[in-house]
């Protein structure tokens, strides 16, 4: 009896072609985006979304066209941070503070409602991950960003969404990692950074958040030394707009350097 690969007649469903078309759609939609940066951390509660939103705003104030894709599908906070109205239409993308464009699952959910999908409730863990990956693909492939200088991707804690992102983009994006000073955060972020490096992502630097308070440790310096990447900012508990402007300028400078090296 012949095996799967020995059957060569065209598949009318064309499932692989459909998957290929999805990937082309993502590539075409992102063609006008000069740079994609994933903001990530292996740990929750370190302020990834807060950093993402404020870096985006600072870049926009500096004259860059900026978009933010809120990839934290289960805990979307970017619309609130950019003051985008709940249920703002996603097509074209909503525009928030300082002209930052945004797409978020928060625009599809009712206020306070958790992300849930229709479908058989029994053993939903089997298909829920695929649903979330598919939603991320739609966010990447369906938003009409237009020409952007930077698209920031706000990733949730953990590495699953980053891996999905690499698969969908077909190319690992540069990453900006966020940590707090504690050794616990360092250890969790280290795993995420290791995974990102192993996937081939460029590490743009480390943002050490919540510095100067009761959180003790040297996570930023430890990780910077270990991964030979700079601490691009230490964010105090009460940052000013200047804090973010300096970080944005540093990231822009790093981008120019990287572009010049190509």
């Amino acid at each position: 009896m012949r095996t799967y690969h020995q059957l060569t007649d065209p598949d009318r469903s064309g499932l692989l072609d459909q998957i290929g078309a999805q990937r082309r759609r993502v590539a075409e939609r992102l063609a006008g985006v000069k740079r994609i940066v994933a903001v990530m951390s292996g740990k929750g509660g370190v302020g990834k979304s807060y950093v993402t939103a404020n870096v985006a705003r600072a870049l926009a104030r500096a004259g860059r066209s900026v978009g933010v894709l809120d990839a934290d599908l289960n805990g979307p906070t970017i619309p609130g941070l950019l003051q985008i109205a709940p249920n703002a239409p996603p097509h074209p993308p909503a525009v928030g503070l300082d002209g930052v464009k945004c797409i978020s699952m928060g625009q599809f959910l009712d206020a306070g409602a958790p992300l849930a999908f229709t479908g058989p409730a029994a053993e939903s863990f089997v298909w829920r991950g695929a649903m979330e990956a598919s939603a991320l693909r739609e966010f990447l492939g369906d938003v009409e960003w237009g020409d952007l200088d930077v698209l920031l991707l706000d990733l949730p804690p953990g590495m699953q969404r980053y891996v999905e992102l690499c698969d969908i983009l077909g190319n690992p994006p540069p990453v900006l990692t966020v940590t707090i000073p504690t050794p616990e955060s360092r250890d969790a972020v280290r795993r995420a950074m290791r995974a990102a490096v192993d996937h081939g992502s460029e590490v743009l630097g480390i943002v050490e958040n919540m510095v100067g308070g009761e959180l003790q440790g040297t996570a930023g310096d430890d990780l910077a030394s270990e991964f030979a990447t700079p601490v691009v900012a230490r964010i105090p508990w009460h940052p000013t707009p200047d804090t973010w402007d300096q970080l944005a300028a540093r990231l822009s400078g790093a981008q120019r350097t990287a572009d010049g090296a190509r």
């Binding site: 012949r2 059957l7 459909q18 999908f117 479908g119 058989p120 649903m131 739609e138």
Partner: protein, 134 residues
């Protein structure tokens, strides 16, 4: 996934797709040589897994709409309400299982496109799901 007519050693061709509306899927495949037809039947979980990939069994006939999967599959509370009678009946369920019972009825309604849960819907769900006493 492909189907082989072993007797003819021929790859069977996709013929038809049916969505009965209960979360299952039926796709038929026909042998181009002998004409034998087989049906592939998937349970709701299997159907959902295919759906989650954003692909169409049998091929896509129209381009995907923006956010097609998200709009079709993300649950919003808009469109699902509880009648006053249904709410009163739910309130009589012991509190330690009330959340679970409410979710069962809500899932039942969503899977069937029901927009308002009434005592009659609850009765039907109980009978169909074997939940007598809830």
């Amino acid at each position: 996934m492909k189907f082989l007519c072993v007797e003819c050693d021929q790859q069977m061709a996709f013929a038809e797709r049916e969505l009965p509306g209960d979360g299952t899927l039926a796709a038929t495949f026909k042998c181009p040589k002998c004409g034998r037809v087989v049906a592939m039947l998937t349970n709701p979980m299997e159907t959902q897994l295919v759906s989650s990939l954003g692909v169409e069994i049998g091929g896509r006939t129209v381009p995907a709409e923006p956010f097609e999967m998200v709009r079709a599959n993300v649950v919003t509370t808009v469109g699902l309400s509880w009648s006053a009678d249904a709410q009163e009946r739910l309130s009589r369920v012991p509190s330690f299982v009330r959340g679970m019972v409410k979710k069962i009825y809500a899932d039942y309604a969503r899977e069937r496109g029901i927009t308002e849960i009434t005592p009659a819907i609850m009765d039907t769900a109980r009978a169909e799901l074997g939940l007598e006493g809830m």
